[in-house]
Structure formats: structure tokens, C-alpha cells
């Protein structure tokens, strides 16, 4: 059994009386793709936002490589090696693809408090940005403004920016949401490639994609863990069918 890279203990987030995430204790092992699924309002996005530091936990802990990161800010978590992509395009619309990837790659300098040497002379940053764009099939789109990319390309750029920060854990928030069939296929292929040898926590609605990519699937319902197991176990679980899949299919 590999070491858990990320561990949540009794993780809870309340909004007023509503517990969006309610006492979730999960271990995410290194080198695997973990999917988190569940019906709308199950708390998947809240869960991801707790892991990336965008929301503060009301209760419970998050440990990353044994380190308590419950109170860490998004920039601290990113520097520790947790990268995330966003559900809706969260880019720099006025910057080119190349510049978006550049900013992501530059974040791995020990510090960007560098005032004199022109940025373009940092060749390791340029190389990192170029690699990430290449890996996501965007090399030809370098000069295009992020705001003018197609929906699918924006998603590719999201993933490129995440890769350019060289994370050890990837948090993917519905990478297929809103994509057409062909675009979705392209992004699934990209994700399969990206996931190889990396640790991924994936929140996604597209069941085919989830079952094909993931090693483990966790089902959240009303902020709680309903079921966890291999894709096959989850697919055949009666509780899951009742709570979620049945309703979705019907």
C-alpha cells in the first residue's frame, strides 16, 4: 500500500446551518487518480476548495506529506506542490497563451522579487512554460490571447498552467464541464497523459471519463462519504445506485 500523499481527518465546512462537507476522512495515495463524484450539491467543489486553501475548514484537518496544512493559504499550498485547475476558465484573458504559461512557470523561481534582469532571460522559466504548452498541445497557439481561445483550448491552457507549476498533487475541478464531445475527448486524452505517474484528485460529472481514468472513486452525498472503492466496486454498489446513479440515469 503506497503512503497517503494527502489525508483529510474529519474535514468539515459549514455555511450557516448547512454542512457542505461533513466529517470527511479520506486518504489519497501517491501515484493514483482519485475521482470524487456525487450529485449536484454533494459538496465536491467545496471539498476541493478546502484542499486548495480557497476555503477554510470549519473543523478537522488536512495533511499533505504528513504536514498539517489545514490553515495554509492557496499560495503556500501551491508552493508545497499542490496545483489546481478550475471549472470555469480562470485565466488571464488579456494575456497571450505564452504569457499565461510564463506566469505559471515563473512561480517556481525561489522568488519573483527580481527587479532588474529582464524576465525573458530566465531561460529555465521559458523552458518550463514551453514544455507545459507543448504537453497540452498549445504550442501553435502561443500568441493567441487567452480570452479568445475556444472553450476546449481554455481548458487545455488551464491544465498547462497547472503543469507549469510542476505540482506533485493535481486537483482538477470538472475539467470536462461544458465541453462538446470532440473537445471532451481531446481533454480526456490529455488528462490520461497528464495523470501518468502523478497523483490526481479529480472532481467530475462525466461518468465515462471518471470510470476510465480513475483508480479509486469516492462518492460524496450531502457532504458525507457514501462509498469508496475501485471504479467497478462503485459502479456495482447498490447504495450508490440508489443515491446517485439511478437518479442520474433516470
Amino acid at each position: 500500500m503506497p503512503e497517503p500523499l494527502l489525508l483529510t481527518e474529519d474535514l468539515t465546512r459549514r455555511f450557516g446551518a448547512l454542512a457542505a462537507v461533513d466529517g470527511v476522512s479520506l486518504a489519497f495515495e501517491e501515484g493514483r487518480v482519485h475521482a470524487v463524484i456525487g450529485p449536484n450539491g454533494a459538496g465536491k467543489s467545496t471539498f476541493l476548495n478546502l484542499l486548495s486553501g480557497e476555503l477554510r475548514a470549519t473543523q478537522g484537518r488536512v495533511r499533505f506529506r504528513g504536514l498539517d496544512v489545514t490553515r495554509a493559504t492557496p499560495d503556500e499550498l501551491s508552493r508545497l506542490g499542490i496545483g489546481r485547475s478550475y471549472q470555469t476558465a480562470n485565466l488571464f484573458p488579456e494575456l497571450s497563451c505564452a504569457d499565461c504559461a510564463w506566469l505559471a512557470a515563473q512561480s517556481r523561481l525561489p522568488s519573483s522579487m527580481r527587479f532588474l534582469r529582464p524576465a525573458e532571460r530566465y531561460s529555465e522559466v521559458a523552458a518550463r512554460a514551453a514544455r507545459a504548452l507543448e504537453a497540452c498541445g498549445l504550442s501553435a497557439r502561443r500568441p493567441a490571447l487567452a480570452g479568445e481561445l475556444s472553450y476546449g483550448e481554455q481548458r487545455q491552457l488551464e491544465i498547462a498552467m497547472m503543469l507549469a507549476t510542476e505540482p506533485t498533487l493535481l486537483l482538477l475541478d470538472e475539467p470536462l464541464a461544458g465541453l462538446g464531445h470532440d473537445e471532451a475527448l481531446r481533454v480526456v486524452a490529455l488528462l490520461t497523459e497528464v495523470a501518468r505517474g502523478r497523483t490526481v484528485i479529480l472532481v467530475e460529472h462525466d461518468m465515462d471519463a471518471v470510470f476510465s481514468i480513475s483508480d479509486t472513486v469516492t462518492v460524496l452525498v450531502d457532504g458525507r462519504v457514501l462509498e469508496r472503492g475501485s471504479p467497478d466496486q462503485v459502479r456495482t454498489s447498490a447504495a450508490v445506485r440508489e443515491a446517485y446513479l439511478g437518479e442520474e440515469i433516470a
Binding site: T73, D75, D99, L103, R108
Partner: protein, 300 residues
């Protein structure tokens, strides 16, 4: 390319005026160039970082008062001493005010900077020991010849431009551009953005302090109106008029405003109305300011 030639020609022309010996032009263009430094340094915040600050006049005024204080009370005149002291005073004030204001964002940030500016204004305006509403004379100026003061201002303007252009091309400048575009995303990419904003705020504030020091040197006089928010508002208008996020645009905006103010006064006592009309026209027809008249010029 044409932009570079235009900038170089303007800089040389402004420098040449120093040798004309004409008292009026030295004073007038000296003042205008101080406006250029103020506008360019505020552009670092407004145009490149997306931070609209109304505290810029505070750092300008504080450095000017610091010169008056150091000279009048301590009898220190030598610019090698007074300049660093005044610069540090402005930078320290920017560090404190920035640290507190940057806890707020958006319109709240604007309001907090406005509040600090007004606090300082009333502090100087209402304290007889600090000159009160009449202001203070600088007993002895660090540079007594007007031509020398003019040259110092010119050199400061050129250096400020080169420094800002350099910073903006460096990794630091890229981060500011990212913060302007999408602050939250910059944070999730691993940048502690408040720290970057604070450093930008201090750099801009220190340059405003340079302008204030030069102003007090040129006029030998400081008054609380220079600290007030109206002055901040005017610098902000200059930046928007010239074209935010271009660096050279706000500098030309400051020159243009100086000329309008001067010649407009001859035409009508209501020259402010001329400026107002110009601003409305620019906002409506040139959203990128006067710099938008030329070609693109996204980065300085």
C-alpha cells in the same frame, strides 16, 4: 521604434531647456516634469497592478515637508543627506500606509488610501508647529540655482522612467501584470500577492517622494494642499488621460495638462472646464488615453 525616438527626442529637448536660462520656462517645465514623475509612478499602481490609490499625494507632500523639517529644524541642507532622508520618509510612510490599506481590495482600498491622505492633510493643516494651513518655507534649498534644480528634476525623470521600465520587464513586473489580470489566480499559482502589491506601493510611494523633494527644492515652499486628496485625484486623472499601463502615456499627459493649465488660464479663468471637457472626450473616445493614439504599445 517611433515611440523610442519620440521619447528620446522629448527627453533631450527637455534637457536642453536647462541651458536656456529662462526663469519662466525652467520653473514651468520643472513643475511639469515633477508631474511626469508623479504620473508615471502612480501608473505603476493604477495601470500595471490594477491598484487605484488616492494616497500618492501623501508621499509627495511628506517628502516635501521632510525637507522643510530637516532643513529648518536641523539645519541640514546638503542634498547628499537630505535626499536619502526624504526618500526614506516617503518610503516608510508608503510601507505603513500600504501595509494597512492593502488588507482591503477594490473600492475599499481606494477609500482607505483616501482616509490616510485626509488624515495627513488635517495633521499638517491644523498643527501650527507644522506650518498650519499656510505651509512652510524651506529656509535654505539643497540646490540654489534654478538651472541646477531643473537639471536635477530632468535627471530624476529620466532615471525614474528607466527604472520603472526595467522593473516592469523583470519577473517582478510580470507578477504585477498577472495581479492586474487575475489576482485570485496568481495566488493559486503560488504568488503571495499582497507582498508584491506592497513592494509596488512602496516603490511608487518612494518615487512620489522624489517628486515632492524636487518640488520643495524648486519652489522652496510646501503647503498642506500638496498632501490633500485633490492633488491625488489630479495625478490619477493625468494617468487616465495619458493612458494607463503605458508609462510614457501618463508622462505626456502630465506635460499636456501643464500646458493646458498655463495657456488655458490666458484664454479663460475657467480653464478647469477645458480640462474637464478633455477628460470626458478622452474617456469617451480614447479609452486607452492619449497613448492609444499611437500604435498598440502594450508594454513599456
Amino acid at each position: 521604434m517611433t515611440r523610442r525616438i519620440l521619447l528620446l527626442a522629448s527627453a533631450l529637448a527637455l534637457g536642453a531647456v536647462a541651458f536656456s536660462g529662462d526663469r519662466f520656462w525652467l520653473q514651468f517645465l520643472g513643475k511639469a516634469m515633477i508631474g511626469c514623475i508623479l504620473a508615471m509612478s502612480l501608473d505603476l499602481l493604477v495601470g500595471f497592478t490594477g491598484l487605484v490609490s488616492l494616497a500618492h499625494s501623501a508621499f509627495f507632500g511628506l517628502a516635501a515637508y521632510a525637507l522643510a523639517g530637516v532643513t529648518n529644524r536641523l539645519g541640514v541642507v546638503n542634498p547628499l543627506l537630505t535626499f536619502p532622508v526624504c526618500l526614506l520618509a516617503a518610503a516608510a510612510a508608503a510601507l505603513i500606509i500600504g501595509f494597512l490599506s492593502l488588507r482591503a481590495t477594490g473600492v475599499y482600498f481606494i477609500m482607505v488610501t483616501l482616509a490616510f491622505t485626509q488624515m495627513l492633510f488635517y495633521l499638517f493643516n491644523d498643527s501650527p508647529a507644522l506650518g498650519g494651513s499656510d505651509g512652510l518655507y524651506v529656509a535654505e534649498r539643497p540646490v540654489d540655482s534654478r538651472a541646477a534644480a531643473y537639471l536635477a528634476i530632468w535627471a530624476a525623470l529620466v532615471l525614474a522612467y528607466l527604472l520603472l521600465a526595467r522593473i516592469l520587464r523583470a519577473p517582478f513586473g510580470r507578477v504585477l501584470e498577472g495581479i492586474r489580470g487575475n489576482e485570485q489566480r496568481m495566488r493559486s499559482l503560488g504568488y503571495p500577492i499582497r507582498r508584491y502589491k506592497l513592494i509596488a506601493f512602496v516603490i511608487a510611494g518612494a518615487l512620489a517622494g522624489v517628486a515632492g523633494y524636487l518640488d520643495a527644492t524648486l519652489y522652496g515652499f510646501v503647503n498642506p494642499a500638496q498632501l490633500g486628496w485633490r492633488q491625488s485625484g489630479l495625478i490619477l486623472v493625468t494617468v487616465l488621460l495619458g493612458g494607463k499601463g503605458t508609462l510614457y502615456g501618463p508622462a505626456f499627459g502630465a506635460l499636456l495638462l501643464a500646458f493646458i493649465e498655463h495657456y488655458g488660464e490666458r484664454v479663460t479663468g475657467h480653464w478647469n472646464a477645458l480640462i474637464a471637457a478633455l477628460i470626458v472626450a478622452v474617456v469617451l473616445f480614447l479609452p486607452r488615453g492619449l497613448a492609444g493614439l499611437g500604435q498598440g504599445g502594450r508594454r513599456a
